[in-house]
């Protein structure tokens, strides 16, 4: 196998799967590479679906990760609109819904995550949308017009990005968040407060600590969201953004180890040495933090794609990367590097009132573990470097603008 003469089958043609196919060729894999996707479209970028693309600022060609000609040019067999229903490990084959079996020497699962459904009455009404795919985004874009009343359920990244895009398009927007603050799973309370204020200042109505009990409709179409306190919020359109769960059924049914994600090692290998799992569907080790986690992000998908391709091509493991995330809302660019594990102190630089600012999160013994930066690219980059190098920086020095970022990170 290390000679690269076997056949690699990749299930899932999103960011992770397509990056794995490309990396295999970059690293010299000489055998067959087959990339199987359920959607009819060639691999495309998902992040713009809630941002530039939704606002009409990007066209479809720009959405594609690579041009259609890329795949034949790189001898990547792209099988679109195909659904894999079973992994037959003894036969080393995947079975399609059509009955066709595709043999593999090595299998890469890049199955992604699926939007969590909202389990309340009325969730199937017309006008209740989720956002994962181009068809989802098209439906949302068609419906988003000036004056439309949009209720967003879930104040996470997707919910807030759609809220921001919808405000720019002139919709009336209400965001309902079950927790006491927005971005509760991904940001610190101070950052949540900042984004909540920014959204409210731009006319978003924000309902935190509010639970949706039912969606109510008229003539089969959604007309409002009923809260548990009895209030009815009128809606022409509802976007559900309440998180995503890993697509791991195929793996579980094939008896691969799963634990909120397909469990893999630092080279993206699952409990079957011939099967890798990458991207949103995988639970992976995070060497910088000494624990395992499932990450839903493009950089994670790309990093794991490189891990799997490097392992298959007999190359050394790529350098572990610092997890990072970004979100664009209005003219605010949020960039987060690292994860706030074992954090005991938070230091801010910059000024939220006048411009960019960043929050650095440190352990009790001053190790920089995460940075959250808003319109503050240098702080983001500096923080990312500090995190990668396991740098210790005394909080009082980090807080003091007389110490430059260059000085602090070197």
């Amino acid at each position: 196998m290390s000679s690269g003469l076997g056949r690699v089958v990749i299930v899932g043609a999103g960011h992770a799967g397509s990056a794995a196919a490309a990396a295999l060729r970059q690293f010299g894999w000489a055998g067959r590479v087959t990339l199987i996707g359920e959607e009819p479209l060639p691999p495309y970028q998902r992040p713009p679906l809630s941002k530039a693309w939704l606002k009409g600022d990007a066209d479809f060609a720009g959405l594609l990760l690579r041009p259609a000609a890329f795949y034949p040019a790189n001898a990547i067999e792209l099988r679109l609109s195909e659904r894999v229903v079973r992994i037959d490990r003894p036969a080393k084959a995947v079975r399609l819904i059509t009955g066709e079996a595709i043999r593999y020497d090595c299998l890469i699962l890049a199955l992604g995550a699926a939007a969590r459904p909202l389990n309340v009455p009325g969730a199937a009404l017309r006008g209740v949308l989720a956002l994962r795919s181009v068809p989802d985004a098209e439906a949302l874009r068609r419906a988003l017009r000036r004056g439309v009343r949009l209720v967003v359920i879930g104040g996470g990244y997707i919910g807030l990005e759609v809220a921001a895009s919808a405000r720019v398009l002139g919709a009336e927007v209400t965001v309902i968040e079950r927790e006491s603050r927005v971005l509760s799973r991904v940001a610190c309370p101070a950052l949540s407060d900042f984004f909540a204020r920014e959204h409210v200042a731009r006319g978003v109505r924000l309902e935190c600590g509010a639970a949706v009990e039912a969606l109510e409709g008229a003539g089969g179409a959604v007309a409002g969201a009923r809260l548990s306190d009895g209030r009815l919020l009128a809606a022409d359109l509802v976007l559900v953004g309440v998180g995503a769960g890993p697509n791991q059924t195929l793996a579980r049914e094939a008896a691969l180890a799963c634990d909120d994600g397909i469990v893999v090692n630092e080279r993206a290998r699952s409990s079957d040495p011939n099967i890798f799992a990458i991207g949103d569907c995988a639970r992976r080790p995070l060497p910088l933090y000494g624990r395992t986690m499932r990450l839903e992000s493009v950089p994670n998908a790309l990093e794991m794609a490189k891990q799997a391709a490097a392992a298959l091509c007999g190359r050394g493991p790529p350098v572990p990367e610092v997890p990072w995330f970004w979100s664009d809302q209005y003219e605010l660019r949020l960039q987060i590097a690292g994860l706030p594990f074992d954090v005991a102190q938070t230091v801010s630089r910059g000024n939220p009132e006048t411009g960019g600012f960043a929050l650095f999160h440190l352990t009790a013994d001053d190790m920089v573990r995460a940075v959250e930066a808003v319109n503050a690219a240098p702080e983001f980059m500096a923080g990312k470097t500090m995190i990668a190098r396991l740098r210790r920086v005394a909080a009082e020095r980090l807080r003091d603008p007389r110490h430059t970022l260059q000085e602090l990170a070197s």
């Binding site: 970059q26 713009p48 690219a377 980059m381």
Partner: protein, 108 residues
């Protein structure tokens, strides 16, 4: 179509044709040129499409606009040099036919 040469850190050159108006980053990604990661897909959010522009091409590519997102990202990229650019911010024009860029050792 303008031709762009990407030189990997190990010295391996890759010359490809890049359609007018696409970025130098897209030219690398679309042709599977190793060494440019482009995590964010061209949003100027990640600095993983960092290149060094060969000296003689600098007058034509220019440098990052002072105060721009690109300049801020590069102001702290660990291996930035005076001729550093983020390749997602260089749009290919006829004037750039023959452009040569070099890749840093790593993008992360």
């Amino acid at each position: 179509m303008p031709r762009v040469t990407y030189i990997e850190h190990n010295g391996a050159p890759h010359t490809v044709e890049v359609p007018l108006g696409l970025s130098v980053m897209r030219g690398a990604v679309d042709n599977n040129v190793p060494g440019i990661d482009a995590d964010c897909g061209g949003e100027c959010a990640c600095a993983t499409c960092h290149v060094y522009v060969e000296e003689e091409w600098l007058p034509k590519t220019g440098l990052p606009q002072p105060g721009s997102q690109e300049a801020s990202m590069l102001s702290f990229a660990a291996v930035a040099q005076p001729n550093s650019r983020l390749s997602c911010q260089i749009s290919v024009t006829d004037a750039l036919d023959g452009l040569v860029v070099r890749m840093p050792e790593g993008q992360h």
